[in-house]
């Protein structure tokens, strides 16, 4: 087990380097940091020696060799904590990124908790009477959920709970954008909760749809298995069969899925955050890419790829830990 973890962790490093190199080259071409810099600082752009200095300090050399050299220049700065300041406003990148990360994790974890709980319950509910009305209803509902893109549900919910609600009852039920009212200072969980209701609903629609279908399939697989027939034949009560034998085994593949999904939270709420102007990773990405802000985008990409890779490893480990039939190494 430990050997497996070590081997996978060692593999994760070259993977991360390879991915960040590809992303580095792609972003260099896509955002064209030099042009963005010139756009943000028109006065400096007129002085060739200052521009040359910017190229040298940030490693923005041209040509294939320049990209490789520039990548290692960037990597060295990134590892030693010597991050390039953002192009727009020339601010340090980390404080913004850290806030965005915390905000996104808060929204994503709450939404996952709500969505996974409801989704799993619906999946179990459907699988207990396969082919019956409830099964059809859950299956159909899940497909409807898949068909509702997050930006569509977001716009519709904003219209209903904020604008129409205000028309009917005088004031909106839920706020539609941000995390706090403008100008708010300090930490206020209750107020924040109110701002999070609509984004959480939007994110959980997709989560519920995914997990209800997955849970239903997984539980049906277990319910049709031979070892469950054995358990019943031993004379164990149906309730005990279901809870101790069926649900536990059905949860094994689900646990992996949960691990993978948590890894994807960090970069996966872009649409929802964009519509609700929630100050998280998604909003950060949208603003940075609109500004062509290369020094802001690179650490963002590193955070989301690292998160995906780490949680991939965790998913494999959970699977091996929960299912004794799987042997690592």
């Amino acid at each position: 087990m430990i050997r497996f973890i070590m081997r996978r962790a060692l593999w994760a490093i070259p993977t991360l380097i390879l991915v960040t190199f590809v992303v580095y080259c792609a972003l260099r071409i896509a955002t064209n940091p030099l042009a963005s810099y010139a756009r943000s600082n028109p006065r400096i752009a007129k002085q060739p020696e200052k521009m040359q200095q910017y190229i040298e300090t940030n490693g923005l050399w041209d040509g294939p060799g320049g990209y490789v050299r520039g990548y290692f220049h960037w990597l060295g700065g990134f590892i030693t904590g010597n991050w390039q300041p953002s192009i727009k406003g020339s601010r340090p990148v980390w404080p913004n990124l850290k806030d965005a990360l915390i905000n996104t994790l808060r929204l994503g974890l709450v939404a996952s908790l709500v969505g996974i709980t409801i989704g799993l319950s619906l999946g179990v509910f459907a699988a207990l009477k396969p082919g019956k009305l409830r099964d059809t209803a859950v299956n159909t509902g899940a497909l409807v959920g898949f068909s509702i893109q997050p930006f569509i549900s977001a716009v519709l919910l904003q219209l209903l709970f904020a604008v129409q609600w205000a028309k009917w009852f005088g004031e909106p039920l839920f706020p539609t954008s941000g995390m706090y009212p403008p100008g708010h200072e300090g930490f206020d969980p209750l107020l924040m909760g109110k701002y999070m209701v609509l984004p959480v609903i939007v994110v959980s629609i997709q989560t519920i749809a995914t997990y209800s279908r997955y849970m239903r399939g997984s539980l049906l697989d277990v319910l049709n298995s031979d070892y469950l027939r054995t358990a019943r034949a031993k004379g164990i009560s149906e309730r005990r069969v279901l809870v101790k034998h069926a649900l536990r085994n059905a949860m094994v593949p689900i646990a992996t899925l949960i691990a993978l999904d948590i890894g994807a939270i960090v970069g996966g709420l872009i649409i929802t955050e964009g519509v609700f102007e929630y100050p998280g990773m998604g909003q950060y990405f949208l603003t940075a890419s609109a500004n062509g802000d290369f020094p802001e985008l690179m650490p963002w990409m590193v955070v989301i790829t690292a998160s995906v890779i780490i949680f991939n490893l965790l998913a494999d480990l959970t699977y091996a830990w929960l299912d004794p039939r799987i042997r690592l190494d």
Binding site: V19, A26, G131, L143, F151, L156, V163, K167, N224, I270
Partner: protein, 347 residues
Amino acid sequence: MTSLNESLAREVVDAPTEPAALITTDAAVIAASNESLGVLTEAMSPRKMAFKRFMNHRAAVISSIGLIIIVLFVVLAPITARYGVNEAIFKSEGQNLNSNLAPSKQAWFGTDANGRDVYSRIIYGAQVSLMIGICTAALSVALGAIVGGIAGYFGGRLDDLLMRVTDIFLALPLLVTLVIIRGVLKNVSWAETVMGEASSIRFLVLMLSVVGWMAVARLVRGQVKQLKEREFIEASRALGATNKRIMIRHLLPNSIGTIMVALTFAVVGAIAAEATLSFFGYGPDAGSGETSLGLLIRDSKKAVPPNYWWLVVYPCVFFILLSLCINFIGDGLRDAVDPKMQQEVKG
């Protein structure tokens, strides 16, 4: 169908025929009763069995009808649309600009900020969106099926490379991948000659295909890897069939179901991707006098605060209905080509 089968079908009076089967051809009715009798099922070709299973999926059948209606509306746009795509209806009277009118007899779904009929614009938008969806799906499925098929069949280095490359791309959020690839293609000079302007529909279709083929390739690869271990492939290889013959005569027909399912989901994926990109301002500029569902939904964002609900509800609901229809058809197809799912339900 032979007369023997017909007489058999008549004999089975109390055989429980599915309601969905009743509206199909006689062959399906006979097939259904054959199956309930438990005899002569071998007389059905796999394709017929799949068709019967699809027809038993009620939601898929209803969705097919719904999609046909939508496609008819879209194809017959000159007749079904009441106004031109950019036509400002009933010119302003005095100070009234006639923009943002609530639904009425003259404009069933109301008018937008420029006084254009929302109902007609949805039809024109669906035209563009469906075209984007179908072109992208066709391209990415063709590419994905070829690459996935070859990788799955031959395995080895190529297979490893395919899996690693797609791993990287599928690990990143789709919107991020699309925004970055769009930026790269926009700034590489030779790409423009192939892809066209960054705001053109051709650019969008090609860009979505660059990303879209990977999911298809993985699906087809899995299917081919499974198939090539089967006895009939081994038998045909023992008879001296070449790789080319095995791939064209055996693997392709046997994975056509999987490919069809991938095709449906690729259509809906492309339409949704177009809408997402448009919503965040990275979408195509459908050209003067044209629009797309994504652009309509993007405009609906601005209509929320002043409560012009018709600008929000109609395009959004139409979009949901369209994706729902295609998703259900895909679901029905998947059940039809993968009978294991059906047994699960019965078990």
